[in-house]
Amino acid sequence: MAKKAYVYSGTDWVPLASEVTDLTAYSTSTEIANTYATKADNGLVHINTTSFSAVASQSLNDVFSATYDNYKIFINLDSVSASGDLYARLRVSGADNSSAIYGSTGWYSNSSGGSGVVNNGTTNIGWSVGYMNSTADNGYFIIDLSSPFIAKLTMATSWALRNNDTPPTIGTTEQRIQVLTHALSSSFDGITVYRGSGSMTGAISIFGVKK
């Protein structure tokens, strides 16, 4: 049986223009909450966010597991004490893998007309994931990481954007895109990000991509 819906005007109940034909077709609030929760789990699932202040490196333990094969990592730097690259390397059982088996190649271009290949190599002891100038207001780095925990070769892409100044001055705007490889297929459960020189202040967030 059709049911007419009403709203309260403040002084009286007034009918809505449309009629609800069958209430059984509508979800209860519990059903909506459960459905929404299920959907919220379907994409990126937050694993860890850690803030840090004036550190040369920041390590995160136990963030990769068999639950996810792929991860998305966001790094927001508020400041760095010295200009230079931000690096990352894999970690297991509380220790960095610092063997010279990290490979990378990348491309950058900037608003000053500069462009070129950067960070070619297969025997580095960490991945460069971008550059930040000490005069910049902030820096933004993203890493898409594949198979750090499962027994497959770990690889990643990273992209970073930067400028050299503080608002309202932009300075040179630059983007850098890189592909990153690692020679081992062993399991890693953590990651360390570190500065090539000096210290950094900011935050890192890690999300798992639901299978």
Partner: protein, 71 residues
């Protein structure tokens, strides 16, 4: 100013010491060497470009023509 180097491990901020400090310093030394190499490469590339532009100008090309040629 402190000469101490601090690192973050999960939510803790601690002073880097021993093997951890050595590993970090080695990584930073490699990073700085790589940075210097990249900067030298970029400078050499810029110098070569400027040299080429000077030679093209000496041949009589206008600035617009050179820019169109070099992109």
């Amino acid at each position: 100013m402190s000469d101490k180097i601090y690192i973050g491990i999960d939510n803790k901020r601690i002073e880097a010491k021993g093997e951890v400090l050595e590993s970090l310093l080695q990584a930073q030394a490699e990073a700085q060497a790589e940075q210097s190499r990249i900067e030298a490469e970029q400078q050499a590339k810029a110098n070569a470009k400027q040299s080429a532009m000077n030679k093209l100008k000496a041949l009589g090309l206008t600035d617009n023509e050179i820019e169109g040629l070099m992109g």
